[in-house]
Symmetry: C2
Subunit: 165 residues, 2 copies
Amino acid sequence: MRVLGIDPGLGTTGYGVVELTESGLRLCEAGTVRTRPRDPLPERLRALYEGISEVIRECRPAVIALEGLYSEYRFPRTAILMAHARGAVCLAAAHLDVPVASYPPAQVKNAVVGVGNASKAQVQGTVQRMFALADPPSPNDVADALALAVTGCYRQGNPLVVNAR
Amino acid sequence: MRVLGIDPGLGTTGYGVVELTESGLRLCEAGTVRTRPRDPLPERLRALYEGISEVIRECRPAVIALEGLYSEYRFPRTAILMAHARGAVCLAAAHLDVPVASYPPAQVKNAVVGVGNASKAQVQGTVQRMFALADPPSPNDVADALALAVTGCYRQGNPLVVNAR
């Protein structure tokens, strides 16, 4: 089973594809979709939508694991721009008929690191060791996306596809 | 010149089409696109995207006047869901090659009512009188969308299409 983890952002969206096989988890692919800050918002969302659509078509995931919504945001304006990007990702998933599961950050950290308030560096380090990578996945968005994909794989025995909120 | 005003919301998105003619402003059409609260978020965004795409294809606006982002939000969670919807609207506009202009609420109230802190009821009343409607446009989302479209029409002499943020 292949899971595509996505950490959405208007400037940089991280993605990571993880496959659950009989011998364990395998990292298939990871990267970012970036948009140009000078472009109008609709243009940036189109670029993100197209980039993510391409990843979905290429990796054909069974499910997309998307970062869930926080209950509180420290930077509302950033959160609002992120939500535009998250909307574009959800639309790409809907148009390509891939279900979306949504995992809150604490749940992802718990699943991957073992503690719900793990730091970004801890997530990076754990993902690096898990897939025996030479370097920690960078930027952070890629590490977070891979952690989301891993969480999605771990949860395959449980009802995987929850209504994304 | 025809302007499509859109007041995006995840549950209810208001839209209104206003045409600027030699004899003044004419209301062409107005309504809402609603999504089902029980559906998963990607499904709701797809329904909104399709509803707005249909309106755009039918009314062929020169520009879309979209509610701008506030600097502060009283209800961050609502604002974040609204931003998902706003992203879907921006994508529909981008995919159908219609430019998007973004007007902050205070600017719209100023353009329509004459004061930047006008109440929702004042906006409804002004839009009702402006187009000699039997009743105030309802729900509020429709009145706001028409006010956005009117603002877009008023601004036609000025650089109309700003980079939407």
